[in-house]
């Protein structure tokens, strides 16, 4: 320890240096008639007795404790799901979990702080702003202790409080017109979406206007943003009056959105058992072979 009595400190240094060099080369103050090696081993034994007892003890005042988080912790079912998710490679469902946690007004349990911060440090796919919201002031207090997480903390803190307010207003008519040309603009709307925005989004999916290749990813993003009760509307659309390419795109997008929304229902139920998921109605993603009547 740093505060050794100077005399004892000097003796320590002498013993260790003498042992390093060897008593053949370094004189030690052994009394006449005593083997210097024996003297060294026995003096080291006395020194050892002191370090053995107190070597690991020190004086250190702990810092200020973290702020209190008034939010409740997640219920056991939601915790159990997160236990599984942190072991999986994919971050998409993790993101959904954080979204539902924020919607339910609960924070992260402290045992999940470390694995999630580590995940966010290694991968930018996890939404750091949402992680910051889920960590809350106490979780961020914790994260600030580890310099390895400083980039995550900066990104998380930049947005705590912002963008987490009420649903975005319904899009106006001008918006709707432009969306037909540029569906990706939907995704720039502030999150979470209003019922009106959700209606528009489902319409865009059902119209099959997103290129077939991007339809699935687009559908997943829509599924992550629409309110939960959009499920019935989403699974009821029938993209039948479309040409085959548009229909394939529509089905791929709707199926992907349904899958994500269904996963969110599962999470919502875990956070609040009174929220019972509707009956599942998966959207077949492979377009049916056109029947003979439908052929042009």
């Amino acid at each position: 320890m740093s505060t050794t009595v100077s005399g004892v400190g000097a003796l320590e240094v002498d013993l260790v240096n003498a042992a390093l060099l060897g008593t053949d080369r370094r004189d030690v103050p052994a009394p006449a008639g005593t083997d210097p090696a024996t003297w060294l081993l026995e003096s080291a034994g006395r020194r050892r007795a002191a370090t053995l007892v107190a070597g690991a003890s020190t004086f250190l005042r702990p810092g200020e404790p973290g702020p209190v988080d008034p939010r409740p912790g997640p219920p056991a079912a939601a915790r159990a799901i997160l236990d599984e998710l942190v072991l999986q490679a994919s971050t998409s469902v993790l993101d959904l979990w954080l979204r539902e946690a924020c919607a339910a007004g609960v924070g992260l349990a402290p045992e999940h702080w470390t694995p999630l911060l580590e995940r966010a440090r290694r991968s930018t796919e996890l939404d750091r702003r949402r992680l910051g919201a889920a960590l809350g002031a106490r979780g961020l207090w914790f994260a600030r202790h580890n310099p390895a997480w400083s980039a995550v903390v900066r990104a998380a803190e930049a947005s705590t409080g912002a963008d987490q307010g009420a649903a975005a207003p319904d899009p106006d008519a001008a918006d709707l017109g432009r969306l037909a040309e540029d569906p990706d603009r939907l995704l720039t709307w502030p999150d979470p979406w209003s019922a009106g925005a959700a209606r528009v989004a489902v319409g865009v999916l059902a119209a099959g206007i997103v290129g077939a290749r991007g339809a699935q990813a687009f559908g997943q993003r829509v599924g992550a943003r629409v309110p939960l009760d959009t499920y019935a509307a989403l699974t009821a659309v029938a993209p039948s009056r479309l040409d085959p390419a548009a229909r394939a795109s529509a089905r791929a997008g709707l199926a992907a959105a349904e899958e994500v929304l269904w996963a969110r229902w599962g999470l919502a139920h875990a956070f609040d058992p009174s929220r019972v998921p509707p009956e599942r109605r998966p959207v077949p993603s492979v377009p049916a072979v056109p029947t003979f009547q439908e052929r042009p």
Binding site: L15, G22, L41, L60, E111, H145
Partner: protein, 447 residues
């Protein structure tokens, strides 16, 4: 050749764990493992009634005949039953390496003579035992004298040479200590090279060599030491302790709570330490079990379990190891008042521990303190009392961030092992660990 036997007794093949459990002491357990190699066994087989036999070529060739769980016979001079050769044969049997066959002529048709059965071994032949003890003592004395000359040579020629060839320094003298029947000393010696990987290794190495010199000196004066300290010295040197002798010690009755468990790999063996807290005696006890890597460690006492049991302590001051004796159903709910202590109290207990056993390497403790992360990366973590007393945490593969998370910067109860290098946290106790939804405490690892 024996005649055909028509009735086939069903002899269930033992697991490696069962074999190791049948060993009379740790020394035989360790000694048996290197003897399982196929190249040193010949004329080995098993009969339809479960009889096992084989010739084991060690320092000489010994004839071994075993009836698992019943009787063990070996032509070696060891008085232990089963001896290491019989254990090695059992281990080979457990591994499926002993095929069926007809016994050779040197195997008695009636099986091993019952004169060497485990039961009868407990009736000691006092004169022979005294002679054997004196013989062993002389062997150990000679070995430790040699060790002391080696220790002197190290500080005479200088420890700087260790930096380059630590293993070669140690292996020869460690093997010599095994021959001198001082396996405990051999284990300490084999632990030395690992010290060189740590900060301030010259101090630590010198401490360790000084500790070994102290052990040599203590062993020379063994007959003049108080009984407890003498037992500690014998245990550190590696004299075997018979299970029967431990079970003959007076029982300590209590409700024992299994607070934590620590596994470590120690040479060729995996060891598990299950730490028990007796709530009435307010004392610690430790169940030690061994397994060959991969065989699976004893799981009969799980962390969190409460046992209403008698335990029998191994001899020696500051010795925590016990054997479980009689057990009864647990009638009361576990007490809420746990073994948590403030840091200063644990420091004091450690000083007493070291006084009782100057070679102590660990002591169980539940600290109630605040985790403090390092100010700069790479520096040690600490657990600190609000008053400022603090202990360094032993470096772990993963940093104990979950411990800080669970605490939120406030005192938490942490179970772990206290040792010369600091406190090794094992798990979090108390309310901070929360419950798993069924009301039982979550077993939260600290890293």
């Amino acid at each position: 050749m024996s005649g055909r036997i028509t009735t086939v007794a069903v002899v269930e093949v033992w697991s490696r764990a069962q074999v190791l459990a049948a060993a009379p002491d740790d020394a035989s357990r360790r000694a048996s493992l290197p003897l399982t190699a196929s190249r040193i066994w010949s004329e080995s087989g098993r009969g339809p009634t479960g009889l096992l036999w084989g010739r084991c070529r060690g320092s000489a060739t010994y004839a071994v005949v075993v009836e698992p769980g019943q009787a063990y016979a070996c032509s070696c001079p060891s008085r232990k039953s089963p001896c290491k050769h019989a254990l090695a044969l059992l281990l080979r049997w457990a591994d499926g390496l002993v095929g069926p066959g007809d016994p050779p002529e040197w195997v008695p048709t009636a099986g091993p003579a019952r004169g060497r059965s485990a039961e009868e071994e407990r009736v000691p032949d006092v004169e022979a035992a005294t002679a054997r003890a004196a013989e062993r003592r002389a062997k150990v004395d000679a070995g430790l004298d040699e060790l002391d000359r080696w220790l002197h040579d190290q500080v005479r020629t200088g420890l700087a040479a260790w930096e380059r060839r630590a293993w070669t320094h140690v292996e020869g003298v460690a093997a010599r200590m095994v021959d001198a029947q001082a396996p405990g000393v051999a284990g300490m010696l084999r632990g030395l090279p690992a010290l060189l990987a740590r900060d301030a290794w010259p101090e630590r190495l010198l401490d360790a060599l000084a500790g070994l010199h102290l052990l040599v000196v203590a062993h020379r004066g063994l007959d003049r030491l108080p009984v407890d300290l003498a037992a500690t010295v014998r245990s550190r040197v590696g004299y075997p302790v018979a299970k029967a002798g431990v079970l003959a010690q007076p029982p300590v009755l209590d409700h024992w709570w299994a607070v934590g468990s620590v596994d470590s790999v120690d040479g060729r063996l995996e060891t598990r330490r299950v730490w028990l807290w007796g709530r009435t005696t307010r004392s610690w006890a430790m169940l030690l079990s061994f397994a060959v890597p991969g065989a699976g460690l004893d799981e009969s006492v799980g962390v969190g379990q409460v046992l209403n049991a008698a335990v029998h302590r191994y001899p020696g001051g500051g010795e925590h190891r016990v054997l479980l004796g009689e057990q009864w159903p647990v009638d009361e709910a576990p007490d809420a008042a746990g073994p948590a202590e403030p840091l200063a109290a644990v420091e004091q207990r450690w000083a007493l521990q070291v006084a009782a056993d100057p070679w102590a390497s660990r002591m169980p403790a539940v600290l109630r303190a605040v985790p403090v992360p390092p100010a700069r990366p790479g520096e040690p973590w600490h657990l600190a009392d609000p008053d400022g007393s603090a202990v360094r945490l032993v470096a772990m593969t993963l940093e104990p961030w979950p411990l800080l998370a669970a605490s939120g910067g406030r005192p938490v109860e942490v179970f772990g092992e206290w040792g010369p290098a600091g406190f090794a946290p094992v798990r979090l106790l108390g309310a901070e660990a929360g419950t798993d939804g069924t009301g039982r405490p979550r077993l939260l690892a600290v890293a």
